[in-house]
Amino acid sequence: MIKLNLEILRRKSPEDTPHWESYEFSSQDENINLAAALTELNRTLAEPVRWECSCLQKKCGACAMIIENRPRLACDTPLKEFRDKIRIEPLRKFPVIADLIVDRSILFENLKTMQVWFAEEAKTNGSQTAYEASRCLQCGCCLEICPNFFAGGEFAGMAAMVPTTRLLTALPDQQKKELFRAYRKHIYEGCGKSLACREVCPAGIEIDQLLVRSNAVAVWKRKIKHDK
């Protein structure tokens, strides 16, 4: 039996002053995760907690939030990890819309600024690096933890590095100059390589390895090797 308090930082709108609310929660399901708990809690509330979810199996990044001071996915957070209480807040680096919902559009804007797409046909030929780089959820956890990232700054963080790496495995010549320039400016020059991001990435993406490979290509003009 699970029994604890869900402490949630709530606000109705972006203008509203945030305040903590505490809800007693219990469940017979020992394996219940925070996403299922929020769904159950909401059934009992006149003003349900607003939050985003979709897949409920850590594959879409929708439910990222701060859980006990760490960016995590609610659907990948079993309640049995906690005793007595669990503190839940919206991600702090993005504008809050209401309760636990934040506007993460900066992630997508950064990818547009960096022109993350193939300008012409490009085959990645089963590249393992391209596969790994295609797995990013755009959840924003890596940006949340990163000391160097803030919305509106030049540094786009690992949420931009990872998708860019897919391009680097098969980049057409005509795109090289522009993308390498963007890579240096928005990724390479901003990153202090502490790899706090690697620890929190809920998809377990091998950020460190991708970063080494991408730097080699975009900054040092080498080729990605041993990629099958």
Partner: protein, 525 residues
């Protein structure tokens, strides 16, 4: 040409937007959340195309045959012919967008999938949907920057705007601000399956609430084959949902068994010596149901015989997932599995050009009842969504409609979600009637309960729509007095040629169920 309005940014919506953009036609791409969160990212096992790269003499004709046979001859043969003919082209296109499919020494590798005798399923380990979506999202981004695709994430479909029996556009709501926006133009619905009708019981996403289908039904759009729910044979219960164990597990050699007299009984292998564990999903799910009913206990999926290289190169993600959720290593332990609702073969009724019965309204992807008939083959739905989105866009390009800026009826009412209590009540009633095995009595009882529920309280517009959709689902299942594909009636266990027709549900004051002939296959198709 006027801007096209696309509701939904999964595989179908993205594919349509790229096709329009390639022809220089702008679109508004509207979705509840960003594409990264659409159900399409969950697809695991792969996408079908007769690429014939494995030396098995596979042909487009084989793919066509397997698809219509798998769907037990309810699918439109001309539409399926187009789908299967263009499948290799679609997969090659994805390859050129940089999708890192698993490869043989020289070409795209194909794996076995249910209901197909040849290797025909292209894949990227066991995260094929995610990997394809990433490439497609990047491609769409190019057109976002050039201005041809205008995205509206966090926007919700409210209702169609209809005048003179022509679709004039849509009303949508910004879920962040609550603001209502009206759009005029041709509308393409790509809003996915109806998971939200069965909360917690499906393998899909909570985002596809079923509200779009329910609302357009209320507004007069016809729905087809609503009784055809696909139960996937191998799912596991996790917190809040059913989690899929991909069919690739069996494609790569996984075996199903149940304990009988202390021995493992590989019932699928004994009963179906040709396709064994890879019979179409409806057959496997039903057999599992029957052996469990007979013997009690659980059915197990045994993957302990798979070679290490398969785990590493092909099913690494699956193994991690099972270890995560069951704390058990499938390399050494068989896992207990049950059937779970996985796909909606039924939905918005369209012709092979993806037109609905309402002029100027089109639909593609899982929200439609196109391509899969009474049972969808694994690997055919990503194909159906990608090809369907493209085909719908081409139809729109061929029939440009200029919609005058019609004045809104200005019912600026906001969306109100159905109460969770009502959603649960409806879902329980539906499950009691629409299980793997059905009969007249349980269906009639379910319909009766639903009618009582409808009279019990007063409901708002969106709740009423759900009640109507639920009634249409049960009524469709009741009227189909035969067994075919996913629809199994204990009281009519045989297939009946008289019912080789599409079940059509329509609403005008009340619900009417009828049956429509399947089109003849054209010689030129």
């Amino acid at each position: 040409m006027q801007k096209v309005i696309i509701i939904g940014a999964g595989l179908a919506g993205l594919s349509a937007s790229v096709t329009l953009a390639e022809h220089g036609v702008p679109c508004a791409l509207i979705s509840l959340q960003n594409s990264e969160r659409a159900q399409s990212v969950l697809a695991e096992g792969g996408i079908n195309a007769a690429l014939n790269t494995m030396g098995e003499n596979d042909t487009v004709q084989n793919h066509y045959q397997d698809t219509v046979k798998g769907g037990v001859y309810l699918a439109d043969p001309n539409a399926v012919q187009n789908l299967t003919y263009h499948a290799p082209e679609i997969v090659r296109w994805l390859e050129q967008l940089g999708v890192p499919f698993n490869m043989t020494e020289s070409d795209i590798m194909l794996r076995n999938f249910g209901g197909q005798k040849k290797k025909r399923t292209a894949y990227a380990r066991s995260s094929t949907g995610k990997i394809i979506m990433t490439a497609l999202i990047d491609e769409v981004r190019k057109y976002e920057v050039s201005g041809l695709v205008q995205r509206f994430p966090h926007h919700r479909f409210i209702r169609l705007r209809i005048a003179d029996q022509v679709c004039q556009g849509v009303s949508i709501q910004d879920d962040y601000t609550g603001e209502i926006l009206d759009f005029s133009g041709t509308v393409l619905l790509c809003s996915g399956g109806m998971n939200g009708i069965f909360p917690g019981m499906t393998t899909g996403t909570t985002q596809n609430s079923g509200d779009v289908t329910a609302t357009v039904f209320r507004q007069g759009v016809k729905l087809g084959n609503l009784e055809m729910l696909q139960y996937h044979p191998t799912t596991i219960g996790i917190s809040g949902k059913r989690c899929l164990v991909t069919e690739a597990a069996r494609g790569e050699g996984g075996r199903l068994y149940i304990m009988r007299n202390g021995q493992k009984w590989h019932f699928m292998e004994e009963k179906y010596p040709e396709l064994k564990n890879l019979m179409p999903r409806d057959v496997v799910a039903r057999e599992m149901y029957f052996v469990r009913r007979e013997l009690g206990g659980e059915v197990f999926l045994d993957m302990t015989g798979l070679p290490e290289i398969t785990w590493q190169k092909k099913l690494s993600d699956l193994r991690q997932e099972i270890m995560h959720y069951l704390s058990s290593d499938p390399r050494t332990n068989p896992i207990p599995v049950r059937e779970g609702i996985h796909y909606f073969m039924g939905g918005i009724d369209t012709d092979e050009f993806h037109r609905t019965n309402l002029e100027n309204l089109y639909a593609a992807g899982e929200c439609t009842c196109q391509y899969h008939g009474a049972n969808r083959l694994g690997g055919n739905s990503m194909l159906g969504a990608l090809y369907g989105g493209r085909k719908a866009a081409e139809s729109i390009l061929q029939n440009p409609a200029e919609i005058r800026e019609s004045k809104t009826n200005s019912e600026q009412e906001k969306f109100i979600p159905a109460s969770p209590v009502l959603i649960q009540e409806i879902s329980q009633i539906l499950l009691s009637g629409l299980g793997i095995v059905r009969n007249q009595k349980t269906l009639e009882t379910a319909l009766e309960k639903l009618k009582q529920l409808s009279c019990q309280r007063t409901y708002h517009f969106y709740e009423q729509n759900r009640l109507l959709l639920a009634e249409a689902m049960l009524a469709s299942a009741l009227e189909r007095r035969e067994s075919r594909g996913a629809h199994y009636r204990e009281d009519y266990p045989e297939k009946n040629e008289d019912f080789r027709k599409t079940t059509i549900a329509e609403y005008a004051e009340q619900i009417r169920i009828s049956f429509r002939e399947i089109p003849e296959k054209r010689a030129d198709a």
